[in-house]
C-alpha cells in the first residue's frame, strides 16, 4: 500500500498502544488545566467573589449548611426572605449544589485543610468543568473513538457557551449540572451498548444527583425515553434496550422522588409521563418478544400490531382522562413557553421579564460556539452515516437542544455539549481522512511526492486513529467516489493534506483566541463589581453595590426590612443580611406585584403599602449618572406589567408612555411616570449634581427636568459614590397626625391654601 509520507516501521503494537494512552492521559490533564485556568479570569481581574444574583442565595445556604450541618439546613425556615411570609428553604431548593460544597468542605477540614467555604463555592464551577471535559471525552469515545473524545473534551473545556455559566464565582446549579448531564448520558449509552444493569443503575444514581442539583433534569427525563421510543419505532428493540431503560427508569424515578422539592411530581405531572409511557411500552414489547420466541408463527405480526395499538390507545386515553380528572397535573407555564415563545409575555410576565428567558439572538450562537456551530451539522450528518443506537441519541439530542436553544438564551447551555460532541466527531473525521498516510493503490504518485511509496508496504497502520480510519474516513470521499467512478477513494499526495490540515489547525487556533477573548471580556464580570477603564487604559473598579449593602449592614437595625425589586433580593440577604420583601425565588407573584405596585404608583398610594409591609428602607438601582443600563428605570416597565397583572384597574402600562408612545424620563414624561415612586427615587436631587446645567441621564440619553421631583414620604438615606444604588428611608407617621405631605409643606414654611375647600365637604352635585 502506498503512503504519502514515511511511517516508522519498527514499532511494536504494544509501544503504539502505550504511547497513545500516555498521550491521552497527558492531553486530558492539560485540557482539565486549561478548562480550570480559563475560568479564573474572574478571580484575577476582580477577586474571589460570588457573582450575580442566584449564586448569592446558594452561597448563603451553603454557609448555613457548613456551619450548622445538614439537618439544620434541611429544616431551615428563613423568616427574613419574603417578609412577612418567610420561606421554607429546605423544601424549596435543589440541594445538590450545596451538598456538594458541604461534602468538599467537610472533607478538606477532615484533612486539616482549613479552606474558607467561600473559596470552595467560588472554585466549584471551574473544578467541575474539568470533570465535564472528562465526561464529554467518555461520551464522545462511545460515539467515535478516543481522538474525537479528546477533541470534544478540549472544545467543551473552553467553549464560551459553557464558560458563561461556570466561571469562578458563578456558583449556580448549572456549575455541576452539566457534568451530571453528560455523565448520565454516558452511563445511559454505555448501558444501552452493553445491556448492563450496572450502568443502568449508575445512570439512575447520577440522574438522582442531577435531580437534586438542577431543575433541568427534566431534559434527561425526556431525552432518554425519546431515544428509547425512537429506537423501538425504528425496529431496533433489543433486550439490551429493555435492561438499560428499565433499570434506569425504576431506580431513577424512585430516587428522584427523594428530593423534597420534586416530591410526587415524577408520577403526577405531564413532563414526566413520557418516561412512564415508554417504560410501559417497553414492558409490553419485551413480553411480546418473549412470546414470539416460543411461538414461531406468521400470525404474530398482526398479533403484535393489535396489542401495540390497543396498549398505546389505552395508555393515551388513560393519560388524557387522568389529566382531565386532575390526577396528572397539566404542563406548567414554563413548559408552554418553550413551545409558544409569546406565551410567557401574555400570561406570565414574571417569566418573560428575566433576560435569560428571551429567545436567542443569532449572533450569540457564534459568540458562544464560534466555528463549532458550522461543524455541528457536519457532525450530525456523520452520525447518520453510521447510525448505531448511540448515534440516534446524538441526533435526537442535537435536534431537541437546537430548538430549545433557539427559544431561550439560557438553554444554550444544554446545546453546547452536543455541539462539542458532534463537532469533535466531524473534525476528527476530517483529520483522520487527511492525516492518514495511506494512498489509494492505483494512485499515480504525484511528481512532487517525495515519498518512497513501497518501503513500508506491509499493512502498517498509521500511528494514530488506527481502527477507525478506514470506516469513518470514507464520509467525505464518498462524494468523490460517487463523482468519479471506477477509482478508489483516498487522498493523493502531500499538498492536499497540507492545505487541509493547515486550515483546520488555523480554525482551532482562532477558536482558542476567540474563547479566551470572550471569556475574558464578556463572561467574567461578577456583576456585583463593575469595571471600567480609565483614560490611560488602567482598570477602574466600581463597587457601588457592596458599598450600599455594607452601609445597610452597618447602619440599620438587623430587623430593618428592605424593599427592592426582586432582582436584588438575594444580594441584599447575602451581603446586607437584612429581611427583604421579594427575592429571586419568585414563587409568589402577588407579593412581587405588590412591590411593583408600590414602585409604580404615586407616593400617597405607595406609602400605605410600605407601612403595611413594615418597610423601613427602599433600595433602587440608578444608572443614569454612570450609564449603567441594567438599572431599575429600564426594568420599570416589567414592574408595571407585573403589577398590572394583579391590579388591572389601578396600574395601566400605557399610562407610563407619552401620548406618542415613547418611554421618556425628561419633561415630556407622562404624569403617571413622573409621579411614580420609582421615578422620584431615581431622579431625586439628580439635577443638583449638574449645578444648573443640563442634567443628562446617560443611559436613556435624555435631559431630565431642571426642577427635580420632591419626596414627602421618604427620606434619602444613602447614595453611593456613582449613584448606582440609592437607599431611601420610609418616614414614620407624623406625630401630630397630619399626612406627611402637609406636614412637609408646613415645615418648609408654605401656607396651606385656604381657598380650597376640603373635598369631603363639597356638596354632591
Amino acid at each position: 500500500m502506498p503512503t504519502a509520507f514515511p511511517l516508522p516501521s519498527d514499532l511494536s503494537p504494544a509501544t503504539v498502544t502505550n504511547t497513545a494512552s500516555l498521550l491521552r492521559i497527558v492531553a486530558l490533564s492539560l485540557i482539565s488545566g486549561a478548562a480550570i485556568a480559563s475560568r479564573l479570569f474572574a478571580v484575577i481581574n476582580f477577586e474571589s467573589i460570588i457573582h450575580e444574583f442566584d449564586p448569592w442565595f446558594n452561597y448563603r445556604a451553603t454557609r448555613v449548611l457548613a456551619a450548622k450541618g445538614f439537618y439544620e439546613f434541611w429544616n431551615w425556615f428563613d423568616p427574613t426572605a419574603w417578609y412577612p411570609l418567610g420561606r421554607v428553604v429546605g423544601g424549596t431548593v435543589y440541594p445538590g449544589l450545596m451538598a456538594t460544597s458541604g461534602v468538599i468542605y467537610n472533607f478538606l477540614h477532615a484533612l486539616n485543610l482549613p479552606v474558607d467555604i467561600r473559596n470552595i463555592c467560588v472554585m466549584l464551577a471551574p473544578g467541575f468543568s474539568a470533570l465535564t471535559a472528562w465526561a464529554t471525552y467518555m461520551f464522545t469515545k462511545e460515539m467515535k473513538d478516543e481522538s474525537a473524545g479528546l477533541l470534544a473534551a478540549a472544545f467543551i473545556g473552553i467553549v464560551p457557551g459553557y464558560i458563561s455559566r461556570s466561571v469562578a464565582g458563578s456558583y449556580d446549579n448549572e456549575a455541576i449540572a452539566i457534568f451530571l448531564l453528560m455523565f448520565t448520558f454516558y452511563c445511559w449509552i454505555k448501558a444501552l451498548k452493553l445491556g448492563s444493569a450496572l450502568f443502568g443503575t449508575l445512570a439512575a444514581v447520577f440522574y438522582f444527583y442531577m435531580v437534586a442539583a438542577w431543575g433541568g433534569y427534566v431534559f434527561i427525563t425526556n431525552m432518554i425515553p425519546l431515544h428509547g421510543l425512537v429506537l423501538i419505532l425504528m425496529g431496533r428493540f433489543t433486550s439490551r434496550l429493555y435492561v438499560a431503560y428499565s433499570s434506569w427508569y425504576v431506580i431513577g424515578t424512585l430516587s428522584s422522588m427523594q428530593v423534597p422539592f420534586v416530591g410526587f411530581q415524577p408520577v403526577s405531572t405531564s413532563e414526566h409521563m413520557a418516561a412512564l409511557g415508554v417504560f410501559g411500552l417497553l414492558q409490553i414489547v419485551a413480553f411480546v418478544q418473549l412470546v414470539r420466541s416460543h411461538v414461531s408463527s406468521k400470525q404474530f405480526q398482526d398479533l403484535l400490531f393489535v396489542v401495540l395499538v390497543t396498549a398505546g390507545l389505552f395508555g393515551f386515553a388513560a393519560f388524557v382522562g387522568l389529566t382531565y380528572k386532575g390526577a396528572i397535573a397539566p404542563w406548567t407555564g414554563r413548559f408552554y413557553s418553550l413551545w409558544d415563545t409569546g406565551y410567557a409575555k401574555k400570561h406570565i410576565p414574571i417569566i418573560a421579564s428575566v433576560s435569560e428567558h428571551q429567545p436567542t439572538a443569532w449572533p450569540s450562537f457564534f459568540m458562544d460556539l464560534q466555528f463549532l456551530i458550522f461543524l455541528f451539522p457536519a457532525g450530525v450528518i456523520l452520525c447518520f452515516h453510521q447510525l448505531r443506537d448511540e448515534h440516534v441519541f446524538v441526533i435526537i439530542y442535537a435536534v431537541m437542544a437546537s430548538y430549545f436553544a433557539g427559544v431561550m438564551v439560557r438553554l444554550m447551555l444544554t446545546l453546547t455539549p452536543v455541539v462539542c460532541v458532534a463537532s469533535a466527531v466531524a473534525f476528527s473525521t476530517l483529520l483522520d481522512t487527511y492525516v492518514d498516510a495511506a494512498e489509494p493503490d492505483d494512485a499515480v504518485a504525484p511528481a512532487d511526492s517525495a515519498t518512497p511509496p513501497e518501503s513500508g508496504a506491509t499493512a502498517k497502520k498509521p500511528k494514530k486513529a488506527a481502527p477507525a480510519a478506514p470506516s469513518t474516513g470514507s464520509a467525505l470521499s464518498d462524494l468523490v467516489a460517487a463523482a468519479v467512478p471506477n477509482k478508489k477513494k483516498g487522498i493523493y499526495g502531500l499538498d492536499t493534506r497540507f492545505a487541509i490540515i493547515v486550515n483546520a489547525v488555523g480554525m482551532l487556533a482562532f477558536f482558542v483566541f476567540h474563547c479566551t477573548w470572550a471569556t475574558a471580556s464578556a463572561y467574567s464580570s461578577p456583576s456585583v463589581v463593575l469595571a471600567s477603564q480609565n483614560a490611560d487604559g488602567s482598570q477602574h473598579i466600581i463597587d457601588d453595590f457592596r458599598e450600599a449593602y455594607y452601609w445597610l449592614r452597618q447602619n440599620t437595625p438587623e430587623t430593618a426590612v428592605v424593599m427592592s425589586w426582586w432582582d436584588y433580593g438575594y444580594q441584599i440577604a447575602g451581603m446586607a443580611d437584612r429581611p427583604t420583601l421579594v427575592d429571586n425565588n419568585t414563587w409568589n407573584n402577588t407579593h412581587i406585584a405588590t412591590v411593583g405596585k408600590a414602585m409604580s404608583s404615586s407616593e400617597e398610594v405607595a406609602y400605605p403599602i410600605l407601612r403595611k409591609h413594615d418597610v423601613d428602607y427602599v433600595l433602587v438601582i440608578f444608572g443614569g449618572l454612570l450609564g449603567y443600563s441594567g438599572d431599575d428605570i429600564n426594568k420599570f416597565l416589567w414592574m408595571v406589567r407585573i403589577a398590572q397583572g394583579v391590579w388591572p384597574e389601578e396600574i395601566q402600562e400605557p399610562n407610563y408612555f407619552t401620548p406618542q408612545g415613547e418611554y421618556r424620563v425628561d419633561e415630556h414624561a407622562s404624569p403617571a411616570m413622573k409621579n411614580s415612586l420609582m421615578y422620584k427615587m431615581s431622579y431625586y436631587r439628580f439635577s443638583e449634581l449638574f449645578g444648573g446645567g443640563p442634567s443628562t441621564d446617560r443611559v436613556r440619553n435624555q435631559q431630565v427636568p431642571k426642577v427635580g421631583p420632591t419626596l414627602d414620604y421618604l427620606d434619602e438615606a444613602y447614595t453611593t459614590e456613582n449613584w448606582i444604588v440609592r437607599i431611601y428611608q420610609v418616614r414614620s407617621e407624623d406625630l401630630l397626625g397630619r399626612d406627611l405631605k402637609s406636614a412637609n409643606a408646613f415645615a418648609k414654611g408654605k401656607k396651606r391654601k385656604r381657598s380650597k375647600p376640603v373635598s369631603r365637604r363639597r356638596p354632591i352635585l
Binding site: L194, G195, S196, A197, L198, G200, T201, A204, V205, F208, T238, S239, R240, Y242, V243, S246, S247, Y249, V250, I251, T253, L254, S255, M257, Q258, F264, V267, Q283, I284, A286, F287, V288, V291, S293, H294, V295, Q299, D302, L303, V306, V307
Partner: protein
C-alpha cells in the same frame, strides 16, 4: 401481564396451549425459577395497586415505595432473565451470567435503599 395475546389468532385457545407447551418444553429450569419469582412479584404489585385504587392511597409515599419496590424488582429480575437466557447470548456479549447476577444484586440493593428511604 397475563398471557392473552390470543384474540387475533385464528384459534385462540389452541394458540395459548401451544404457547404454554412450547414454554414448558423450551425453557430451562433456571429460567422457570426466575419466572415463578416474576409471577409472584406481579401478583404482589397487582394486590398493592388494587389496594391503592379500592381502599386508600393515604400514605402515598409508602404506596409508591412498595409498588416501586415490586415493579423495580420485577424489571431487574426480568433483565436478569434476559441476560442469562442462552438465546440472547449474542446480544449480551460482554455480560456473562455471573456479571448479570452481580448487576442484578447491585441494582436491587440501590433500589431498596431508595425504597427504604422513601417508606416514611
Amino acid at each position: 401481564m397475563p398471557p392473552k395475546p390470543a384474540p387475533a389468532a385464528a384459534a385462540p385457545s389452541s394458540a395459548v396451549q401451544t404457547l404454554w407447551k412450547a414454554y414448558n418444553e423450551q425453557t430451562s429450569d433456571r429460567l422457570k425459577f426466575i419466572d415463578a419469582f416474576l409471577v409472584f412479584l406481579m401478583f404482589s404489585g397487582i394486590v398493592q395497586f388494587a389496594y391503592c385504587v379500592l381502599i386508600t392511597t393515604f400514605p402515598y409515599n409508602a404506596f409508591l415505595s412498595g409498588f416501586g419496590s415490586t415493579v423495580g424488582q420485577f424489571v431487574l429480575t426480568a433483565s436478569l432473565r434476559s441476560q442469562v437466557n442462552p438465546e440472547n447470548k449474542n446480544e449480551f456479549k460482554e455480560v456473562s451470567p455471573e456479571r448479570a447476577f452481580a448487576d442484578f444484586a447491585l441494582g436491587s440493593i440501590v433500589l431498596h435503599f431508595f425504597v427504604f428511604n422513601f417508606l416514611g
